[in-house]
Amino acid sequence: MTEKLSAPQQQSLPLGFVRGEPVIDKPEDLYIPPDALELILESFSGPMDLLLYLIRRQKLEITELPILPITRQYMEYVEMMKELKLELAADYLVMAAMLAEIKSRMLLPRPPAEDDDEVDPRAELVRRLQEYEAIRTGAGYLDEMPQTGRDHFVAHAATDAKQHVQQQLPEIALAELAVAFAHAMAQAELQHHHQVQREKLSTRERMSRILDLLQTRSRLRFADLFSPEEGKPGVVVSFLAVLELVKEALIDVVQVDAFSEIHIANRGQVYAEASD
């Protein structure tokens, strides 16, 4: 028995694993060298595992559960666990109580009349053992199944695609712009207590356009600001824009001689040709 313990690698169905090493067999009787006992007891995954082992050792079917000898053996294991003060003993005690109960029921004489209806007191335990055994089998299947990172590996390839990722620019809806303007203006009114005038947008746009033209050409002929295709409204808008630009001191209107051509230029440019 001792040698089986010290040489646990012999081929047989492993009962469990102790620190990663398979435990192939348990001692045939209850003599266990003290230093090995803890390892043996810990190799059971629970009271059901121990019970199953005890039944299997007698080469019996679960349904034949020999309650008397099994209970005796089980209790002896549990006693050893208690001596070792193994924490896992608690779960084993619950099972011990159940076995004791079944044993006591089986020892009681049964009234003959109720014999047919009487459920075998072992039935519930047998059911649980069968279910546990099924699950133990399932656990074995899982262990044997091909596993990622153990039996096969996911294949990956490198890619240069990340360098093609472009920074997406935020989107704005037109309505958001209007709301933002309204909000800014409402804030302004709160702060400044004055009404902000709302000029016709087309005038302001034309103002921008004239200033933009003056960026590239230092002066413009007044007449060039008007294009006949725009019709009367266009002429009016351009004229208002020029007036507004003059009013805001953004441009100068220059006429060298009476009735000569009128030019407009950036403010200051008339006097100093420097521009930036």
């Binding site: 109960e101 059911r127 699950i135 133990r136 656990a139 091909p146 990172g149």
Partner: protein, 200 residues
Amino acid sequence: MQKHQIKQLIEALLFVTESPLSVAQLADYLSEHGMDASRNQIREVLQELQFDYQERGIQLHQVASGYRFQTRAELGGIIAGLWQEKPPKYSQALLETLALIAYRQPITRGDIEEVRGVSVSSQIMKTLQERGWVKVVGHREVPGRPQLYATTNEFLDYFNLQDLSELPAIPEPPQKASNTGPVAQEKTAETAPEESESAP
């Protein structure tokens, strides 16, 4: 885009994504990028790819959450040697808990404890959830509303399965012998003796 280009693209996508890609995900990706390929066309491409790689060192495999390329099964043992760390070896307790959740889902912690006869260690449940193999899918409407656990697609992916029906069969749970309804194990063990018919 030509069909062979769509095939190249699908192939490349499968190799660069972290997780497997489903037909639906591929279809979405293609249509978002202005390529129209029906799901059937995509399936056809995947079949072609599976065929193309049949004899190669890697193969296109379908798992629960989609398709992925993985190394040929026979090579696993040799390739595992590439890494210093050995692949994890799971304890009997963890495997039994996982098997219970996989085969008997949805299942409560109490159910697991009843079958295994031991209290379920929180560490094991934590490990299973951290690995993404197990998740809470609801509550059983009994006092205490215990959580019901089930396995995930990641579980199936890890074990190389497409769905639970591919798990090797184990015996069905045997019928309860006596009273119906789940009885807590402690109750059966501790209080039953006083109440049961065994009292004369």
